[in-house]
Amino acid sequence: MNAQTDIESKLKAIFKKVLDIKETEIVPGSKLDESLGIDSTEMVEISVVIKKELGIVLKDGELKKTFSFNDIVAILKTK
């Protein structure tokens, strides 16, 4: 498994855990608030779990609910 796929799969696992959703509900290119109904507090929770589980520190507000899943993968890959 290469690094890129690893981040994607770990982020999917985080989404599943935080949002109580199935992996098939994640539409990689769609805005998170529109496709998954994510609110701002859930976005913060996802940032906290990313730090705990992936060791990647994100600034307050760096992840936005209008981003897509792919947008977040791209941000994490720059870290």
């Binding site: 949002l19 109580d20 959703i21 701002s40 507090t41 859930e42 913060v44 929770e45 906290v48 730090k51």
Partner: protein, 411 residues
Amino acid sequence: MEKIAITGLGIISPSGIDKRVFWANIKAGRSAVEKIDRFDASLYPSRIAGQVKELDAYSSVSSRLLKKIDLFSHMALVASELCIQDAKINLAQENLKRVGIFMGNAIGGWLYAETELRDMYLEGREGVSPFMASAWFPAAPQGQISINYGIKGFSKTIVADRASSLMAIGYAARTIIRGKCDFILAGGMEAPVTPYALLCCNTSGMLTENNGRPHSAYRPFDKNRDGLAIAEGAGVLSLEPQLRVKAREGVHVYANIIGYGTSTDAVNRIEPSADGQQLARAIKIALDDAGLRPQDIDYICADGAATQIGDATETKAIKDAFGEYAKKVIVSAPKSIYGNMLGASGVLDVITTVLAMEHDMVPPTINFETPDPSCDLNYCFNKAQEKVVKNAMIINRGRGGINCVLIVQKP
């Protein structure tokens, strides 16, 4: 005041969630107060409570939302759904900008709050769930109900200690009369069976410490009472004006709200005023509002704090307001069966009272053993009494000298 109909009930209580089960337990005087079993309460002076069972069996709240809300919001959501179903209201056909939500609560969502506070001290700022921001505050259930149904009308959360939900119901009825809403979901919720909330309730000095006998510990108007047992729960009523009720097919009217009165003691931050005069005044205001005389009241659902001063001053106020009829009217505190739901106690009192009207049966104050000379009214003790109840009065009081009285009438 103009009559406002109660057309639906939603109950979440230690004595049951299904209204038939609830009434059967109330009628039988079967205590639901027991040893607290969901956390180690062994070092608390009072460690008994009424705890809700089976909430999940009635809940359709998603696991995703449950992570973000406190138990008190969960109970309020389930109670609202049960109420809407009971009232046969189809919200898809309503103007949701004209629907209101009036809820009462005393302490907020403390299970969520204290868990996150602990995490803050153990793990630092990042240990606190971001959901805390919207989970803990007293108006959170009102918000969750509005989001769940898209209800956008004039709404409020009333915080008035143990009188909160009765005050919310009174205020809601007034709001309908003023023409601000087509109908209102009104009631309250409380979830005090948590480590910190229980501690705060204990330090108020109002809780029974008769831990060895949980079922018989909460005994209003008994000489050997030593305080109330707390309980968790929620209740929601649908309140509708008469014209709307007449226009709606198949609606069942449990009772009509016909009078409301409030006052404050302005004496002490915990205990009620020793003279009971302001409670007597609230009773008189409610009677005037209803256009009734004392002798028109068939039943009083009492506050029943089971403290020495609480019971004695409630008795005194009833005597002052009712005069020679005071010793004839039947009084009981059925919350002794399931515990005192603090901010949600008022709506459960209203529900119990309207079910009493439906069944022509006065519910008992349980656990009475020894008469108290300072409590000498016509109490219904230990066993339900058959009686046609046309007009009933509900009394709630809160710390800070809050007095609240509602009068309901059989339709």
